[in-house]
């Protein structure tokens, strides 16, 4: 479980992001239509983007405080990010990609983690391949394994299952969830797919036009979404 406290403001083009949020994250989801600032918020949490102003506390540690001039670099935040485009290193094999973030660990621990993740995510036959020779789904699994390897406290997942079909997503999540719990990794999933949010989260943060409009369990949030959709189409 990760304690997250966010209070920030950021403008980028037509987006005016104003996020205010305090919550315990276990399996949370950021839900909302495209262009409302979900990915921007993830990039700020990960430390890849500095907002105009704001504060960010993770497990009681100040990651960012623009007034105090604090802005911890990504590698010191204990927050991992699986980006939408996978961002695998094209010149490195699957195994080398997995090892990339483990340099500070002893060799035997590096090997253990790579073996464990390769076995768990079905990457054994792909270990020596480069990303260019993988399918979209395989690339997403490799990127997921690479983001998991350093065992961050909080893993941000930006549309992580977009190249997988429903059955593949469920099978992957069934494998992944126990691993996350075993190693104390909390997740914040970004998705605009209500089914994913329902299935893979225990708390939903809804975003609209750059602001957090609601926060609660998936059942109540999706019921609100359903009511909104029905109202939109004029049904009672």
């Amino acid at each position: 479980m990760s304690d997250l406290a966010v209070e920030l403001e950021h403008r980028a083009g037509s987006l005016h992001l104003q996020a205010s949020l305090t919550m315990k994250v276990h399996r949370a989801a950021l839900f909302g239509p495209s262009g409302v600032g979900k990915s921007t918020l993830l990039r700020i949490l990960a430390g890849l983007l500095r907002p105009e102003r704001g504060r960010l506390l993770h497990n009681g540690r100040t990651m960012l405080d623009t007034e105090a001039g604090v802005n911890l670099p990504p590698q010191q935040r204990g927050i991992g990010l699986l980006p939408q485009g996978t961002a695998l290193f094209p010149h490195l094999s699957v195994e080398e990609n997995l090892r990339f973030g483990l340099r500070r660990l002893p060799a035997h621990e590096r090997q253990r983690r790579v073996d464990e993740l390769a076995a768990m995510l079905g990457l054994e036959p792909l270990r020596q391949r480069t990303p260019g020779r993988l399918s979209g789904g395989e690339r997403q699994r490799v990127a997921l394994a690479r983001a998991l390897a350093p065992r961050p406290d909080l893993l941000l997942l930006d549309e992580p299952f977009s190249a997988l079909d429903g059955k593949q997503k469920d099978a992957l999540w069934e494998t992944l969830d126990p691993y996350l719990s075993e190693h104390g990794i909390s997740t914040l999933l970004v998705s605009h797919d209500a089914g994913e949010v329902w299935a893979y989260s225990d708390a939903v943060i809804r975003m609209e036009s750059g602001t957090v409009s609601a926060c609660g369990p998936p059942s109540s949030m999706l019921s609100q979404e359903r009511q909104r959709a029905l109202r939109l189409f004029g049904a009672s």
Binding site: A46, Q75, F89, G101
Partner: protein, 225 residues
């Protein structure tokens, strides 16, 4: 006959200059492209000045800087035991300055083409700038590295104005092929001048053929990966 002494001196100068240029331009290009270099326009303009400046102007300033009237010139003379001007070492300094933009520009362009999300991924996985450069940027900029090395080498082989200003025409010490060509023409040895000119032309052409054929190989390898 080709002036073999000038030929070997030119090759030695070009090889040494290329190595030094690589050592200077890789971190410089990384700083310009990957860092948040506030002074980037000024630094880039300074590095690119030799492209637009008459070689004699650059040669003149270097001659003044490396001469006995400046503190730097005296420091170098004390260090080496002889003045830098009119020596092979001075020629190397001049060549590095003059060929800098030719070696730097391909690297800046190559580094800038590395997708930003890969740099961010490296950062998220705990890599500092040095490791990101070594493990991500350089392997993905092989063609730029090759272009930088070859252009630096080929340009040094063909330089004339700076070399003449800073090194003069001392056989075995500062006389390069391009200066030997001038000597041959001035002494009406047109046969030797033809051979020297042809050699300079062919070496430049060869460097460019290697560059472009390697580009094809690298592109094919990238597609296969």
């Amino acid at each position: 006959m080709i002036d073999t002494q000038a030929l070997w001196l030119t090759l030695r100068l070009a090889a040494l200059t290329s190595v030094l240029l690589l050592l200077i331009t890789v971190p410089l290009a990384a700083w310009l492209v990957l860092g948040r270099a506030r002074w980037r326009p000024v630094a880039e303009a300074l590095a690119m000045v030799p492209l637009v400046l008459p070689p004699t102007v650059l040669g003149y300033y270097l001659l003044v800087l490396l001469g006995p009237r400046t503190g730097f010139g005296r420091f170098c003379a004390n260090l080496l035991g002889h003045p830098l001007a009119f020596s092979f070492a001075g020629l190397v300094v001049g060549s590095v300055c003059y060929s800098l933009p030719f070696a730097l520009q391909p690297l800046v362009a190559g580094f800038a083409q590395v997708p930003a999300e890969l740099l961010e991924a490296a950062l998220l996985l705990g890599a500092g700038r040095g490791r990101t450069l070594w493990r991500v940027v350089l392997p993905l900029s092989r063609r730029a590295l090759l272009a930088s090395g070859l252009l630096g080498f080929a340009h040094t082989i063909g330089e004339f104005g700076v070399v003449l200003m800073i090194g003069g025409d001392i056989p075995g010490a500062t006389r390069t092929l391009s200066i030997a060509l001038l000597d041959q023409v001035q002494s009406f040895q047109y046969g030797a001048a033809n051979r020297t000119a042809a050699l300079l032309l062919l070496s430049s052409l060869l460097a460019l053929i290697v560059l472009y054929s390697s580009r094809e190989r690298i592109l094919r390898a990238s597609r296969a990966a």
